[in-house]
Symmetry: C2
Subunit: 191 residues, 2 copies
DNA sequence: GTCTATAATATGATAGAC
DNA sequence: GTCTATCATATTATAGAC
């Protein structure tokens, strides 16, 4: 009888993501993952034959897919920079649960030197975000170099706010930081 | 004959810190630590009877001690805000090896909810840094609330730059961010 | 203070029943 | 597709020689 999927793929990935965000790659033992997902280890290997590394890869891929579907079309669209950044803030506030969850790009980051597949995915997502934000800054009348710097500054603030929110156990840092982001990309945007 | 210290305490702590910065708390197995420090596991337990948790605690304590000795006296001293922030940048550039090393406050951060001793130390160091930076901002004619926000913004940028530098394997992000920090605390400081 | 040796447990991973 | 049972290895931790 139990030939049916006990946990749907999207739910499974969401629970995996939550676990990785909480304890990181090394901290996420298969036992912990099993408990978090409700699937036994062997069932997890059925879904992810290459084990934990594949889980991390697919979770990162889903992050990339979500951004590609929900964020980048807006940032590349016809709206004003102000509206685009409002959407950016909305998406990030949702992705990071108001600062109560950490970033997978941080928590899944491999050791220095050991780049590997996850490292490539993480770097790629950072670059993709920076490019998209830079174009918004460019739209807000920044020169090419200045636009890149503004985009970088936004990502730096986003990541730092998440680290600090976790470090002092206070999501308010993240919320305060979010409100600053539109003004970084578009200083004349009536922030 | 080998009744003498093979590795001095400060060297031992430095090697431990390097390992934790690289692979995080969970990723730093005793085997890895043993190899990195040049001491066998049982020797490590002789130095740190409570094991890895104690190692992390002492490494964090040493970070706090270093800041207390090298940074906070300057920030609380009689110099101009500009000189204080120049010293801040110098210390941070050294502590994080120009962006090629991660922050222990990030890499040793315990899972959400599980605060524990390390969590307390990390939060304490964040608060201590924020307070000291806020006083510099206050000196640079910021109001009390504004000073706190500027201090927070500096720490957020610092942490985020380290995460991003690691994520895209490019320390330049960190160096660029460092140059912005004095202007955040003192916008009229001729940055 | 350091080492070799060892114990108890946890981990990543596989085999095979249903 | 999920499960129980199992394996080989790695992990934290301790005992005792030098």
């Amino acid at each position: 009888m139990p030939q049916v999927r006990k946990v749907e793929d999207d739910v499974l990935l969401a629970r995996l993501a939550h676990t990785f965000k909480d304890v990181g790659y090394e901290g996420a033992s298969l036992s912990a993952i099993s408990e978090a997902t409700g699937l036994k280890k062997s069932s997890l290997y059925h879904r992810f034959p290459r084990g934990k590394e594949q889980m991390a890869q697919e979770v990162l891929q889903q992050v990339a897919d979500t951004l590609e579907a929900e964020l980048f079309p807006v940032l590349a669209g016809a709206e004003t920079p102000g509206r685009k950044m409002a959407a950016f803030v909305r998406v990030m506030d949702s992705v990071y649960a108001g600062g109560r969850e950490s970033c997978l790009l941080n928590m899944l980051s491999p050791p220095r030197g050991t780049q590997g597949v996850c490292g490539e995915a993480i770097a790629g997502t950072f670059h993709r975000l920076r490019t998209a934000l830079s174009q918004v800054a460019h739209q807000a009348s920044a020169g090419d170099d200045e636009a890149d710097l503004r985009a970088e500054e936004v990502l730096v603030a986003l990541q730092g706010a998440l680290v600090m929110a976790r470090g002092i156990a206070d999501p308010a840092v993240f919320e305060r930081t979010l409100t600053r982001l539109p003004g970084i990309i578009d200083p004349n945007g009536g922030a």
